[in-house]
């Protein structure tokens, strides 16, 4: 098998068995990136490729292996979403605003991967400041979906998704504020997991909406995602919202029996209006779980419809403050020849931010203004509580909640970019997880018109191991996760 078709787990084992060295496999993926990602016809999934550093790290990893203290990650290539601060390496967050920003420190997630000796090949493209569902808001240009280069890969972690789907890296980190891991994973045929809020440290992860942002793995299989979450997750005293909870070995329970587990199907996730093929694809995937001994139960999450309006108040409100530090004073983009400090702010921000970011800053600013705060922000927080209560109640009766990740497969580049509200509807099945702080996952569940779609698995707080277990058992019994876009061989 070609090296790039190996899964993360297989690469780890191959390095351990001495089938190839880290330098060899790193070079192989770097060559693929050059060949498939760059140029006019390329996928544009990377903003920065750290070739020299990657090869130096690979060499160090091989030496570490010879010295006998390699871990399962030592020498394994992967990529970081360009939202994670990397010491000495350009970190743009997909924005012109940070087009020259080289952080002097590593995010905790980055540090965790480095400690293991994992080899980062570069920083992946993303919607600007993680605001978007199509990767079209990136200052560095849209990313193409390797399944069909005319379609979007999803967003905001679109670069990570396209890169993994095209076998440019075996896995990549992502972040998910309203679906930014799950939706691109679904549209690119990957396994992606947004953990419980507080599972992965947010230190060094450039904030979009602090109370919703969470990092997680994007890989081809549940087994790979488990291997990645093992290292990404940690309790971190530098993040006050990180939660002190042991990190289990997520790979240890992958093969546990899932017979007897109860799957809840919320009727709100299967509305009349849902695309028939989507519904059918979901139901046949769920039928596989029944074959594995699970039972299915219809449930209701009555506040689901309120997720979009609540999210589009809370997230913009938080981002309107989070992005205030991008002021042209200490780092990042600064306009030419400012007249005075007022002019410096207005033009640096006016020129440095793209339309979607400006839109959300304005929505958030409005929602927090005197006279509107109670009507918008306070009400949205109340809705969050309702949504959370729905889930808490549901998880008293079921082990997992399942449904589609997206209403439809990937759409064409440019198709929805003129209509923000249409674009926001893309997230209607993913937002409630973030608002409740619950873990959510997307696994490949088949195709519609030759494009992959994802089944969403939601679990109770801290049930990542059980979710990965269920996903792995499903993938042992099915083949959807092995499908690859054409032309990537």
């Amino acid at each position: 098998m070609a090296l790039h078709n190996l899964t993360l787990t297989q690469i780890s084992k191959g390095l351990e068995a001495g089938n190839f060295t880290s330098v060899e496999i790193t070079q192989h993926f770097l060559d693929r990136i050059k060949q498939l990602d760059q140029g006019d016809n390329g996928l544009n999934s990377f903003i920065t490729v750290t070739q020299d550093q990657a090869l130096a790290d690979a060499k160090a990893a091989d030496e570490r292996r010879s010295a006998g203290n390699a871990t399962s990650w030592t020498g394994v290539p992967f990529a970081h979403k360009d939202i994670f601060c990397t010491d000495g390496v350009l970190t743009t967050c997909g924005s012109k605003m940070l087009g020259n920003f080289v952080p002097p420190y590593d995010a905790t997630v980055v540090e965790n991967m480095k400690r293991e000796g994992a080899v980062c090949l570069g920083k992946t493209n993303m919607d600007e400041f993680a605001m978007g569902s199509s990767n079209e808001s990136s200052f560095f240009g849209p990313v193409k979906n390797p399944w069909n280069k005319e379609t979007i890969p999803g967003g905001s972690s679109g670069g990570s998704a396209a890169a993994v789907a095209a076998r440019l890296v075996p896995a990549a980190t992502g972040t998910d504020t309203g679906g930014s891991i799950r939706q691109p994973s679904a549209l690119c045929g990957l396994t992606g997991l947004k953990p419980t809020y507080g599972r992965c440290s947010r230190w060094g992860m450039i904030a979009y909406a602090s109370s919703l942002d969470q990092a997680g793995p994007m890989a081809r299989t549940a087994e790979d995602a488990a291997m990645m979450l093992n290292v990404m997750a940690s309790f971190d005293t530098k993040d006050s919202t990180s939660i002190e909870q042991d990190v289990p070995d997520y790979t240890a329970t992958l093969n546990d029996d899932i017979a007897g587990k109860v799957i809840g199907l919320p009727k709100e996730f299967f509305p009349e209006s849902l695309n028939g093929e989507m519904k059918q694809t979901m139901m046949s995937a769920i039928a596989e779980f029944e074959k594995l001994g699970c039972t299915v139960k219809e449930i209701s999450l009555p506040s689901t419809d309120l997720a979009i309006p609540a999210y589009y108040v809370v997230a913009p409100a938080e981002c309107s403050a989070n992005l205030s530090r991008m002021d042209g004073v200490r780092f990042g983009y600064r306009c030419e020849d400012p007249k005075d400090v007022e002019d410096l702010y207005k033009r640096s921000r006016g020129e440095g931010f793209g339309d979607e970011v400006k839109r959300r800053i304005m929505i958030g600013t409005y929602a927090l203004s005197t006279g509107f705060y109670d009507a918008y922000y306070v009400k949205a927080q109340k809705i969050r509580r309702l949504i959370k209560n729905d889930f808490v109640k549901a998880f008293q009766e079921v082990d997992f909640i399942m449904g589609p990740v997206t209403p439809s497969p990937a759409f064409k580049i440019g198709e929805k970019s003129g209509d923000p509200v249409e674009m926001y509807m893309e997230d209607k099945f993913t937002l409630s997880c973030n608002l409740a702080g619950l873990p959510g996952m997307s696994i490949p569940a088949g195709q519609i018109n030759g494009l992959p779609v994802g089944l969403q698995i939601m679990g109770d707080y801290w049930s990542e191991a059980a979710m990965l277990n269920a996903a792995h058992k499903f993938q042992q019994a099915t083949d959807f996760h092995n499908a690859a876009p054409q032309g990537i061989e």
Binding site: A207, S211, A321, R330, L368
Partner: protein, 484 residues
């Protein structure tokens, strides 16, 4: 018309924590610009705040000291505004759920009466950096060393009725936070700053007039001046039939005026909302009790003790307990000499006079409390006279020596208390003053007392001032009376 003045103060006190409120950087003052600013203080993308438990303990301590309700759940909010020395574009502060709720302090007014002034609340927040407006190639400089220094903002009820009352209140707060050791109280370095809200209303009217806020007044004297100047300005406007504009003003001590800051600043909508990076701060009774048990003796308690247990007058006790520095100095002197009254006399007399005359702060007094105490102890044990004490004090002040006993020796101030030596001098003086002895003997017995003075003078002169005056008196009386 007769006007009533209504004043409320907002005092910002920097907490004396070792590190900043949300980062591990040092809070030490005076370092090179931006050397004490970490990633967090610089507000770089991706950084997160972690609340400093020491700042919490200090704020709770303050709350206990002013007998306030302590917020068992306090919440940090973001106050949004753009300013170059505010690196995140928002200040982290507490709006609706402050750590300290309603409390009160008592202040002593000029006429000696005591007035209780209620404190609405005190909340925790972070200080901003500083803009440096020297010329940096046509640009301004930003120093973020101060950014993130913990502050408590103490908000009074509008119960203050004059500039003098305002100063008394500010001084008392200064005294409390320095007694507690939660603030160094150094006004000249901005450790404490005061915003004064001032309004006027016709006497007898219940409704408040429109107020103005004088920002960042940083000395006791300026608080008094700024408020008085503002009262005058408002009175003039109101008596001319005008109205007061609610606004923020700055005090200019050189021109002795307050003037309006840009009205844009006043119109800011800060769009407060709870900071999602910080969890609510939850504390329980046990925590509060543990802090309360560490409270030191506070100014009011010290004053009471000095009166009740150490026998000082109310006036002396008031002066000696008014500031932490004075109180610490005085207590050290009293401890060293063992006599509170004598210590009080020296500290309030000789020492205060010298400090005032030379405009020296007691913190850097050339005569240490230990030295002064040691010297007083030598007066008490009769080694030197009070007069000799003044000489020792002067020598210490002028740095002619450090050690009290060495100075007593070198200045030849040791009193002669040996009765044999004194008798010998007395005998000499009597022998050399036959005329005066004659007068003494022939005088009426009740007039003789006065006449002893001459002989005492002669003895002191002969002993170069070292003879113990009490003993000289006693011996002289005995010997002279024996001749009668």
């Amino acid at each position: 018309m007769e006007w009533e003045v209504v004043i409320g103060l907002e005092i910002h006190a920097q907490l004396a924590t070792k590190s900043k409120i949300f980062s591990g950087s040092s809070t030490a003052f005076g370092a090179e610009p931006n050397t004490q600013a970490s990633l967090v203080d610089l507000g770089l993308p991706g950084v997160l705040p972690v609340f400093n438990a020491e700042a919490l303990a200090m704020a709770v301590k303050f709350g206990c000291a002013i007998d306030a309700q302590i917020g068992k759940v306090s919440i940090f909010d973001r106050k949004n505004y753009f300013y170059p020395d505010s690196p995140k574009g928002y200040q982290t502060t507490q709006l609706n759920h402050p750590i300290v709720g309603m409390g009160s302090i008592d202040v002593t007014l000029e006429d000696g009466t005591t007035k209780r002034i209620n404190v609405t609340r005190a909340h925790l927040e972070e200080d901003a950096g500083k803009s440096l407006h020297e010329d940096f190639h046509g640009q301004s400089g930003i120093d973020l060393n101060r950014a993130g220094t913990p502050l408590i903002e103490i908000v009074s009820e509008p119960e203050i009725r004059s500039a003098k009352e305002a100063v008394a209140y500010f001084k008392k707060m200064h005294s409390i936070v320095t007694y507690l050791g939660i603030c160094d109280g150094d006004l000249s370095q901005g450790s404490m700053r005061c915003d004064c809200n001032v309004s006027l209303r016709p006497k007898g009217q219940e409704e408040f007039g429109t107020r103005t806020e004088i920002k960042n007044v940083n000395s006791f004297r300026f608080v008094e001046q700024a408020i008085n100047v503002e009262i005058e300005r408002q009175r003039d406007i109101l008596e001319d039939g005008g109205t007061i504009t609610q606004e923020t003003r700055l005090f200019d001590a050189n021109k002795m005026e307050t003037r309006s800051m840009r009205s844009k600043e006043v119109a800011n909508d800060y769009r407060y909302f709870p900071c999602p990076d910080l969890l609510p701060v939850v504390i329980d009774d046990e925590y509060i009790q543990a802090i309360r048990s560490t409270l030191p003796e506070l100014p009011d308690q010290k004053k009471q003790r000095l009166m009740d247990e150490n026998g000082l007058s109310e006036y002396d006790a008031d002066v000696l307990s008014a500031t932490r520095e004075m109180a610490d100095y005085f207590e050290a002197v009293a401890q060293a000499c063992g006599d509170y009254k004598l210590a009080a006399n020296w500290v309030m007399g000789e020492l205060s006079a010298a400090l005032n005359k030379n405009e020296v702060d007691i913190k850097v007094s050339p005569v240490s409390a230990e030295q002064l105490g040691a010297m007083i102890a030598r007066i008490i044990d009769n080694t030197i006279s009070s007069k000799g004490g003044k000489d020792v004090f002067a020598a210490l002040w002028d740095k002619k020596g450090d050690d009290v006993d060495t100075l007593i020796d070198s200045l030849g101030l040791k009193q002669v208390s040996d009765s044999g030596a004194i008798e010998a001098i007395v005998d000499d003086v009597i022998a050399n003053s036959p005329k005066q002895v004659e007068q003494y003997v022939s005088a009426e017995p009740d007039k003789r007392g006065k006449m002893v003075g001459f002989f005492v003078g002669q003895v002191m002169k002969a002993s170069k001032g070292t003879a113990n005056p009490g003993m000289v008196n006693k011996v002289l009386k005995e010997k002279l009376d024996a001749k009668c």
